[in-house]
């Protein structure tokens, strides 16, 4: 990965304290897993930023390598990977996600 791409990835992750990399956008998700995470975040009511990885193939592939995480969606809090759809749903069902995201 080039330094320029790595820098662009860290800058993009830093765009929001809670940052969702997804297929599509929150009002029109292009994938059921992305839609599920958007729905949970809206239910919790935390503000979040999002990035449509379908619109940027270079960042889409680069972020997989950067985070050693091969699939989307990916949810970040303060620059750290919280997880994909399974982990987000699991944390939410255990009542831990709201606390984690609002800390």
């Amino acid at each position: 990965m080039t330094d320029a791409l790595r820098q662009r990835i860290t800058d993009t992750i830093a765009k929001g304290r809670i940052m969702l990399f997804m297929k599509g956008n929150p009002s029109m998700p292009q994938c059921g897993f992305s839609a599920a995470v958007v729905s949970i975040l809206k239910q919790i009511g935390v503000p979040f930023e999002s990035f449509n990885i379908l619109a940027d193939g270079e960042l889409r592939e680069g972020l997989k390598e950067y985070s050693s995480w091969p699939t989307y969606p990916q949810l970040y809090k303060d620059g750290k990977l919280v997880g994909g759809a399974d982990i987000v749903r699991d944390l939410h069902e255990r009542g831990e996600l709201a606390k984690l995201l609002s800390s």
Binding site: K64, T71, D86, I87
Partner: protein
């Protein structure tokens, strides 16, 4: 990709793993897997998933990878015992 292929790849990297895989759509590209392994002990969910993703390697990395989606549930043997 078949569920058996996917299980075999995971077990090659995590030899103690008990793996149950289902093809969720019948199309050979969307799967759900439950993996029980002592290798998950002391690890959070993100690192557990990374272990399984690393085991799958090129089968899940990249836009041409045969696995498009993998819903993953992980347990250590102790956690699995506590559930049953």
């Amino acid at each position: 990709m078949t569920p058996d292929d996917l299980s075999a790849r995971i077990r090659a990297a995590l030899p103690d793993a008990i793996v149950r895989v289902t093809d969720t759509t019948g199309g050979g590209d969307h799967f759900a897997a439950t993996v029980v392994s002592a290798a998950f002990a002391g690890k959070g969910p993100v690192d557990r998933h990374r272990l399984v993703y690393a085991a799958l390697g090129e089968a899940i990395i990249g836009s041409a990878a045969p696995i498009h989606a993998l819903a993953l549930t992980t347990f250590t043997p102790d956690e699995q015992g506590a559930r049953t």
